[in-house]
């Protein structure tokens, strides 16, 4: 238990561009022949400027047209951890995945894995159309590293999970695509490795199937197995990763808590996030708002935002008339999902003509750690004066606390409902039944 189940040490992968990959045998012979005669390589007519990777590129390799897809990647994974590997396209995620799956080898470095590994980069690898469902279960299982007797033991479960019992002895080329995918996933779902390496692209197909995939992965994670998960979907990452490796331009930042990794992915590193957004140029969704009152700028004043701390927004609002009895509010949402809720409050002094600077504070301890987007509105009882729906990303970081009562499971959503508990015993006289809630009982505050 003391040693990590996966140790990745200084793993680098050098790729060569162009010359070798696109070569034909004839080209290779020409090159050899030229070398033999001491002539210049006939195929190397490109000047320095034509190089695909300029020598000063941060990922440029030791020779022209080579580049480091991964450079000095080092991280550990502890047993039972669900590690999310995130990064933009081309950052090196797939290369890392291929190396971890042993599809290709690293150019440098070393990885130690202490457990049986199964990697799922695709479902149904090696399915043969002419073979029956039964035969394909065995073949696919063996390709994924199972022994025949292991498949024997799980065969009935696999068939049941796939829901294709009636067609199990029919060649899979006669299956509908849905049946095919279900059968393929059923085999993958019944692998029993200690370490599971999964690519998110696995979760293709209809929404229901995706849900089934993710549910199964959640089961695997819940049973204490170690999962490495490559994903673009931050919601999925947030809902079941316990830690993240963020990959950028071939380099990895390891050991990140999930929210800050997600923040990096979304381009807002916690240290220097865009804390100020010019709202004057943002498109308004409803043109009949008029322009008597306009949001000019929004700022995130609390920085970084911790779970327990208040979230402060500074808003610059331009008003061309003075309006009394206004309501200022913020939409709080999760990226890509519907709005979580709204915080709104009356503007006691109203707005005066010209620029107004308003400070909106949302009490801390209500939002769980994660990434959110905020939007703002200003209205009175008759009309909206101005509103911009969720546009401003911000991150709530976990509280720096050892207090076990503040524990939050990723699957619990985003809202911490404030609550209190009172104990009512039948022999109580009724007096003092609802004691004032202790700070602990109210959650974090």
């Amino acid at each position: 238990m003391s040693r990590p189940i996966i140790e990745v040490r200084n793993v680098s992968k050098l790729y060569r561009l162009g010359s070798i990959g696109a070569g034909t045998f004839q080209d290779a012979l020409k090159r050899r022949w030229a070398l033999l005669l001491g002539r210049e390589d006939p195929l190397k007519r490109v000047g320095e400027k034509d190089l695909m990777i300029p020598p000063d590129h941060p990922q440029a390799g030791p020779e022209p047209n080579t580049f480091w897809a991964l450079k000095d990647v080092t991280f550990d994974v502890r047993e039972g951890e669900v590690l999310g590997i995130i990064g933009k396209n081309g950052a090196g995620k797939s290369t890392l995945l291929k190396i971890l799956s042993r599809i290709t080898e690293p150019t440098e470095g070393r990885i130690v894995m202490r457990g049986r590994v199964a990697s799922l980069l695709e479902v149904g690898t090696g399915f043969h159309p002419d073979l029956t469902g039964r035969e394909n279960i065995y073949l696919n299982g063996a390709i994924l590293g199972m022994r025949t007797r292991e498949i024997d033991a799980r065969f009935d479960d696999i068939v049941e999970f796939s829901e294709v019992e009636r067609f199990i002895d029919t060649p899979v080329k006669r299956y509908s695509s849905g049946m095919y995918v279900r059968l393929a996933f059923a085999v993958a779902a019944h692998l029993d490795p200690e370490i599971l390496v999964v690519d998110e692209v696995l979760a293709v197909g209809d929404a229901e199937f995706q849900k089934k995939c993710l549910g199964k992965m959640q089961d695997v994670a819940a049973s204490g197995r170690t999962v490495l998960f490559v994903s673009h979907n931050m919601n999925t990452v947030r809902s079941f990763c316990t830690q993240c490796v963020f990959i950028e331009a071939g380099r990895a930042i390891a050991g990140l808590p999930v929210p800050s990794a997600i923040a990096r992915y979304m381009g807002l590193s916690p240290e220097h996030a865009a804390t100020s957004v010019d709202m004057s140029t943002l498109p308004r969704s409803f043109s009949a708002l008029g322009d008597s009152i306009r949001f000019i700028r929004a700022e995130l004043l609390s920085h970084p935002v911790r779970e327990t701390e208040d979230i402060c927004f500074g808003l610059t609002v331009n008003a061309s008339e003075s309006v009394p009895g206004l309501l200022l509010g913020a939409y709080i949402g999760v990226p890509g999902q519907r709005c979580l809720g709204v915080a709104q409050t009356e503007l006691p002094a109203g707005l005066r003509v010209g620029e107004n600077y308003l400070r909106l504070t949302i009490r801390g301890g209500q939002l769980a750690s994660g990434e959110y987007v905020a939007g703002f509105f200003i209205r009175d009882c008759f009309r909206d004066y101005d509103y911009v729906r969720e546009f401003m990303p911000f991150v709530v970081e976990p509280a720096v606390t050892e207090d076990w009562t503040s524990y939050w499971h990723p699957s619990w959503g985003s809202v911490r409902f404030a609550c209190q508990v009172s104990t009512a015993h039948t022999d109580d006289t009724g007096a003092g039944r609802s004691a004032a809630p202790s700070p602990e009982a109210r959650g974090l505050r």
């Binding site: 990959g21 070569g23 990885i111 073949l139």
Partner: protein
């Protein structure tokens, strides 16, 4: 596999022969299932099914008998035409089936290799094994024809099987090693240069004429014969004829040279394959 002391190390390959034999053993079920896949997928939805394994060499023999035996009147060491050609074709078809399949195995299975890891040698091994089944069926057919010609025809009197028949399994092994050795080399080269893929059928065809299947080695002047040992398939073909028909132009030196060459090509093929098996997906 016990998890406690199971440890897998991934690092750049070093050394000359990078074959993880134990892992290959662990994947023996996969090997057998791939054999089954090859076998089943080839003959499913055919009326005659596995009978094709028998029909193919018989048709070739028929063609040879008519064209080379009767029309071109090429000699057969005084043997009846049918058993002469059948004996030559027996291990040759094993070779000719296995070589191109192994040679293209990396390209053909690239969708598999780029998605999941298993010892790459499993695939060539399964090709060797599944063709071995075909060889078994063809061998039975050959024995039937041999028996008919030996005991049922007058010309069969010239056919003298001898104790070297017991060494036939060694010839099978040698054929498998040549096919694997050359095939792995071809696989290594075609994974980088696709050109060779188009050449393989011609290589096999020319190789057949150079393996003395149509004419016996005795047609070659004696001083040139040892040169033919450079093609180890000559020893295989002639060796089969010697064992079952009792006539061949082989010398112990010839056999020795072929055996050494076979070992060399097998070992280097394995080494070359071992060198690229863990990185060919980068450029395939």
């Amino acid at each position: 596999m016990p998890a406690a002391n199971y440890e897998l190390v991934i690092e750049p390959a070093r050394g000359w022969l990078n074959i993880r034999w134990r892992e290959l053993l662990h994947y023996r079920d996969l090997t057998l299932l791939l054999v089954r896949r090859d076998f089943v997928s080839k003959y499913r939805q055919t009326v005659l099914g596995t009978a094709w394994f028998v029909i193919q060499p018989l048709l070739t023999t028929l063609v040879f008998t008519v064209i080379f035996g009767n029309v071109a009147q090429l000699g057969t060491d005084g043997m009846p035409h049918v058993p002469f050609y059948l004996a030559g074709l027996l291990l040759w078809s094993y070779f000719a089936q296995s070589l191109p399949a192994i040679g293209s195995c990396l390209i053909v299975n690239s969708n598999l290799f780029t998605k999941v890891y298993f010892p790459r040698l499993v695939v060539p091994l399964s090709i060797i094994l599944s063709n071995l089944i075909a060889l078994g069926l063809q061998f039975v057919t050959f024995l039937a024809f041999w028996a008919y010609y030996r005991f049922g025809t007058e010309a069969g009197g010239a056919m003298q099987a001898n104790w070297t028949v017991l060494l036939f399994p060694l010839l099978v092994l040698q054929t498998a090693m040549i096919a694997a050795g050359v095939g792995l080399w071809l696989a290594v080269i075609t994974s980088q240069y696709r050109d060779l893929q188009h050449l393989i059928p011609f290589i096999v065809q020319i190789w057949m004429y150079a393996s003395f299947i149509i004419v016996p080695l005795s047609e070659v002047p004696e001083r040139f014969r040892l040169w033919t040992a450079l093609n180890p398939m000559v020893a295989v073909v002639e060796g089969t004829r010697y064992a079952f028909l009792g006539k061949a132009a082989l010398t112990p030196l010839h056999v020795g040279v072929s055996a050494a060459l076979t070992l060399a090509v097998f070992a280097t093929g394995l080494a070359a394959f071992g060198r690229i098996e863990r990185k060919f997906v980068d450029y395939i």
